[in-house]
């Protein structure tokens, strides 16, 4: 693995441009959790010109539905959920200022195109490494959609959250490149 890059949120255009598919990155700062139903609501709010529960400009969204926090802990286990389910909503959020996403699994061609167009980046966290990832979360608070339970929108403060750049703003895709490199024919 290449040397680990540290990045701070909110993400600047310059920071996004410095990232390339395959880079190992740690993220420090504020990020926002949102998955299926929360995405539906965020995009509906954008379409209705309503104010969103957080500032999308430079923001990083983490696709996660954490397990409940034990007493005295900020959060329970919190690994990434599969990203393709959010594909339909992502281009609209990138157009409105979203810069980064953390999830797992492949993105649609439309999302990869939107990352190029709006200068965004898609990171993968290790699916199943949920207890390890929880140790990098310093605080968590629900900021909207509390009634959605594990799908509520949360603001997390993270320190050195380990991720890997999968899709950069130049159109590269680590999933395709990595698998191509190791595929054996026959």
């Amino acid at each position: 693995m290449s040397q680990i890059k540290n990045i701070i949120t909110p993400l600047t255009e310059e920071a996004v441009k410095s990232l390339h598919a395959g880079d190992a990155v740690t993220i420090t700062g504020t990020i926002y959790t949102a998955r299926d139903l929360a995405h539906q609501r965020l995009v509906a709010a954008l379409q209705n010109n309503e104010t969103l529960p957080f500032d999308l400009r430079g923001a990083v969204i983490y696709y996660v539905g954490p397990s409940p926090a034990k007493p005295g802990r900020p959060i329970g286990s919190c690994g990434p959920t599969t990203s393709y389910r959010m594909d339909a909503y992502t281009p609209a959020l990138l157009a409105a200022g979203l810069k980064g996403m953390i999830g797992k699994g492949n993105r649609s061609p439309a999302v990869i195109e939107a990352l190029k167009k709006y200068c965004g980046v898609y990171f993968a966290a290790v699916g199943g490494a949920a207890a390890l990832l929880a140790q990098r979360v310093r605080s968590a608070r629900v900021i909207a959609y509390e009634e959605l339970g594990p799908e509520a929108l949360q603001e997390l403060v993270v320190e050195n959250l380990p991720v890997i750049v999968v899709n950069d703003c130049y159109g590269a895709d680590l999933y395709q490149e990595g698998v191509r490199r190791y595929k054996k024919e026959g």
Partner: protein, 280 residues
């Protein structure tokens, strides 16, 4: 007849839900360690490192290996000489799941209706499969099954003429199309034969096998080995980012078949092949 109290069943199920979600089986840990030795991709090795460190943290802190603590699939072997006292068996199982998911700070991921999608709040209902066996014991196995890998599963009604080649093509292709989504390295459960629904059930039950164990029938043991080798040639690797270790194991369960059919089901599990049993 032997009498087992309702509360004992409920409390056992609750404990199994928590332990299954927080303590990864030794067989899986060994398979991940072996995978780390043979993985050629540096990114893949780093991911396997994270998964091994993760299971250690989960075990020490008794927190879930994965935030998706799954659907509680409960397998029962009920001795015909067992009588439940203080309530009904299925009620005890459901109460145990509700208690385990609440007391253990496990995520509640079940919605009451597939379209209206309101969370039931306690991860019930469990999916329960019951077998009546001779004797006076009750064996309970809790197998929490995550949604991400379940979504990559599929059943196909093959033709008898498709044979072994058709099965291999379908199983390998199913893993190929799944890519990173089920959190590889995966464990692949394959059901063969039976009816449409029985076949899917066989694939799920296959996931309870211990990694490293051989199929009792050498014919199927060899087919499992061949499928594992083909899957690990795909290059998908840990987390789908490229590498050698795409699957840790392939397990087949076969059952008698109608002359006109060859059902084949694939149930995919992420690396966290969680299950825990107790005998009361």
């Amino acid at each position: 007849m032997r009498t087992i109290p309702f509360d004992q069943i409920r409390d056992t199920v609750a404990r199994l839900c928590i332990e299954a979600n927080c303590i990864l089986g030794e067989d899986v840990v060994r398979a991940l360690e072996k995978g780390r030795e043979i993985e050629e991709s540096p990114t893949g090795r780093e991911i396997l490192n994270q998964l091994l460190e993760n299971q250690q943290i989960a075990r020490e802190e008794m927190m879930p290996i994965c935030q998706d603590t799954g659907w509680a699939v409960v397998w029962l072997e009920v001795g015909s000489q067992v009588k439940i006292e203080g309530g009904e068996l299925y009620d005890a199982i459901q109460a145990g799941v509700a208690k385990g998911y609440t007391d253990g700070y496990l995520r509640k991921s079940i919605v009451a209706d597939p379209l209206r999608r309101k969370n039931t709040g306690d991860n019930t209902p469990a999916i329960i499969y019951t077998e009546i066996v001779p004797g006076d014991r009750l064996k309970i196995t809790v197998q929490p099954k995550g949604g991400g890998s379940e979504n990559m599963s599929e059943i196909k009604m093959l033709s008898a003429a498709d044979g072994v080649a058709g099965i291999k093509k379908f199983v390998v292709d199913r893993v190929w199309r799944s890519q990173a989504n089920p959190c590889p390295p995966v464990i692949v459960g394959v059901g063969l034969g039976g009816t449409f629904e029985k076949c899917a059930l066989l694939a799920k039950r296959a996931l309870l096998r211990e990694i490293g164990s051989l199929h009792p029938d050498p014919f199927y043991a060899q087919l499992e080995q061949e499928l594992l080798e083909e899957i690990n040639k795909l290059g998908i690797g840990p987390q789908g980012l490229g590498g050698r270790v795409t699957a840790l194991a392939v397990f087949i369960e076969a059952f008698p078949c109608h002359i006109a059919t060859l059902p084949c089901a694939v149930n995919i599990n992420c690396h966290a092949a969680r299950h825990r049993s107790a005998v009361i």
